[in-house]
């Protein structure tokens, strides 16, 4: 099923607040998003950006102040969540505490007046898909299950009805790291198997990248950018997108473009010809990822000196990182193994650096995905 969210706005009025709705920042601010049939879209963003609200709105658990949600071509504003045929997984699993695992799966069939046999057959089917030991969980009171087990029951409850749309609200955020990894795999397999349209809400960028065919990045109730990971990583729409993705922080250098060179603090780097033609002179902010720095030669005039606080080696990733300051900005830099803190001089790799406006965050130039992909 195709989902289309068209220009949706939603505003909460805080309880007990004397302020009118107009003063409150909206939870969702003119959001438009298109999800193709069978596609998984990860909705990602910092806490409080409205991603859960968006999900509940698609589920029909919230109503929009303005704008429309379409399932295929049908406006679902008047369809209650009960009859939308969706499956939803909640962050806290939201299992029915007084029922056993099996009862949780059966509730859907009970309220839809399906037969006992059908519900049992479906539960059996799901248990086979969910893998080893799942049937044991169904016989237990859900309150006695561990987090991971509860989560599996919650996913099974969502899958058992053959939904036309999966909505997942940070389903694996409460699990420990190891379990999260394996559950992520399991869920990705499930989604692939069913080929059902999915909205996957998370605040974890890795998870978003792993689960989603496309990623929608939200900020303060607005969609900042929608696209594949490569698009968001290599062609960020603005500084926020650029700094959101990447497991290590992006270095943001306040600088000025003049005379076909970049001047940051006391250092200046000449720009390659192609780039110099493209950038208008004036103040900019240069975004450089940790892996996009090159160590310059020792002779003065080349590269900016880095004041190193700490050299960190990450054996698992065969990396050496230098943390410190370059031209007045905090920087984390991937350096060759064995680099010493003394006399480290750096030049941005201009093929991988992005330029943003100094006042607004709009991207002036982005590198785009590297050729070797």
């Amino acid at each position: 099923m195709r989902i289309r969210i068209a220009d949706v706005t939603k505003q909460y009025v805080r309880e007990g607040s004397l302020r009118t709705a107009a003063d409150e920042p909206p939870a969702l601010d003119h959001i438009s998003l298109d999800i193709a049939d069978g596609e998984t879209v990860s909705v990602v963003g910092p806490s409080g950006c409205g991603k859960s609200t968006l999900l509940r709105l698609v589920a029909g658990l919230e109503t929009a102040d303005s704008g429309t949600v379409y399932y295929d071509e049908h406006d679902v504003a008047d369809v209650p969540p009960q009859s939308r045929g969706i499956g939803m997984v909640f962050q806290d699993y939201a299992l029915y505490p007084t029922m056993k695992g099996a009862g949780n799966l059966k509730y859907y069939f009970d309220v839809h007046r399906r037969t006992e046999e059908e519900s049992r057959a479906r539960a059996k089917e799901i248990a086979d898909i969910m893998g080893v030991g799942f049937e044991l969980l169904l016989g237990q009171q859900t309150t006695t299950l561990s987090g991971g087990e509860q989560q599996r029951v919650a996913i099974a409850r969502c899958v058992v009805r053959d939904p036309t749309l999966f909505l997942m609200d940070e389903p694996i955020v409460n699990l420990d790291a190891k379990l999260r990894e394996s559950t992520r795999m399991e869920m990705a397999k499930l989604l692939k198997r069913y080929g059902v349209t999915t909205m996957f809400v998370t605040h974890d960028q890795q998870e978003a990248v792993f689960m989603g065919d496309r990623i929608a990045l939200l900020r303060a109730g607005r969609v900042v950018q929608v696209g594949s990971f490569d698009e968001l990583y290599y062609s960020p729409a603005n500084l926020f997108v650029a700094s959101f993705f990447g497991s290590r922080p992006l270095t943001v250098l306040p600088a000025t473009v003049a005379d076909r060179a970049v001047h940051a603090g006391e250092v200046s780097w000449p720009l390659p010809a192609g780039l110099a033609d493209r950038l208008a002179p004036g103040p900019v902010r240069v975004g450089v990822r940790p892996e996009a720095w090159r160590v310059a030669g020792a002779e003065p005039g080349q590269g900016a000196p880095m004041a190193v606080d700490r050299i960190e080696s990450v054996p698992a990733e065969r990396l050496t990182l230098a943390h410190g300051t370059v031209a007045g900005a905090r920087a984390t830099v991937v350096v060759p193994a064995g680099t010493t803190a003394e006399g480290l001089r750096l030049v941005p790799d201009w093929d991988a650096a992005a330029f943003f406006g100094a006042d607004d965050e709009v991207a002036l130039h982005t590198p785009g995905p590297p050729d070797f992909f």
Binding site: P81, M88, Y107
Partner: protein, 339 residues
Amino acid sequence: MPALLPKVGMRQPKLRYSRAAIAGFLGIGVLLHLLPFYYIISTSLKPGAEVVRNPPTFIPSAITFDAWKLVLRIGDESQIVQLVKEPFWVYFANSAFITVIAVGIGLPVTALAAYANSKLQSGRGARVSFLFFIGTMMVPFVVTLVPMYLLTLNFPFTMPDAPMIPGTDTEFPTLRLWDTPWAVILPAIFVPFNFLLFKGFFDTIPNSVINAARVDGGSELNIFRRIVMPMAVPVFAVTAYMSFGSVWDNFLWQLVTLQSPEKVTMSVATYQLIERLSTAGSTGGGAAAQAEGMGDLLNSGLTWNGMMVLAILQSIPIFIAFLVCREYLLRGIKIRGLK
């Protein structure tokens, strides 16, 4: 008691002593609470003359069931002094009917109101209705007593006489609740304190559970019945027990609204009996007549021992209600720190 008297560290002498002290203290408390019950039971088994003896006896000199027999024949016409008009079981049945109906209708109504306030309303509306309901707790009963009494006379008008329809000489049609069981039942249906308990509990149920049930296709009522109610069983037990007790034991309002002898409840009938007992004979005037009236009563066997029988009979339903709810009550007390 495990929380109060833990087994941990019992080899410490200090802990042992303090534990013994706590146990002793609680034991005294239990005895103090049981003493009145013992006295009620023993008095009910004493012969009539011994009951009024001074100083009172602690152990009955002879055990007799006269008082019990008498109470069960209390409305009998053949009695020398007919104390009340109806047999005892009529009052018992009246009380039982009123209590069962009031609790049976009241609990679902209060629970649904609290659920709606907690989970279905939001924002200012929820706040205002919550304060409205809770606000009714702030008004003392004596303040509302007279208006409520007037209300039962010509419902829904708070007037002794129904007003005239303007331009005609007929009265507005009104509902006379006074002197019917409904005058007692209707005000007891919505109990703000129970509302508060229910609301407090429903607030602790995560919204996501309700939302999950909605996505599963449950209607709001079905969600309440299948998901929420099983979770709220301890709260239902607590509220059921408390409203059962408050309706069954209520006296003042029942005295005001119930007048016909065949409609009076246990608590009112008991009061009327005490009144008869303490004023019997005084109406004729003169000490001799009073003594004669007293003598009649004593002869018929009804003095305080009869009262004690009534007291026991009136306590039994509460006791049964407690036994039924006991398991959940204890859990509820543990959960919510009630009472």
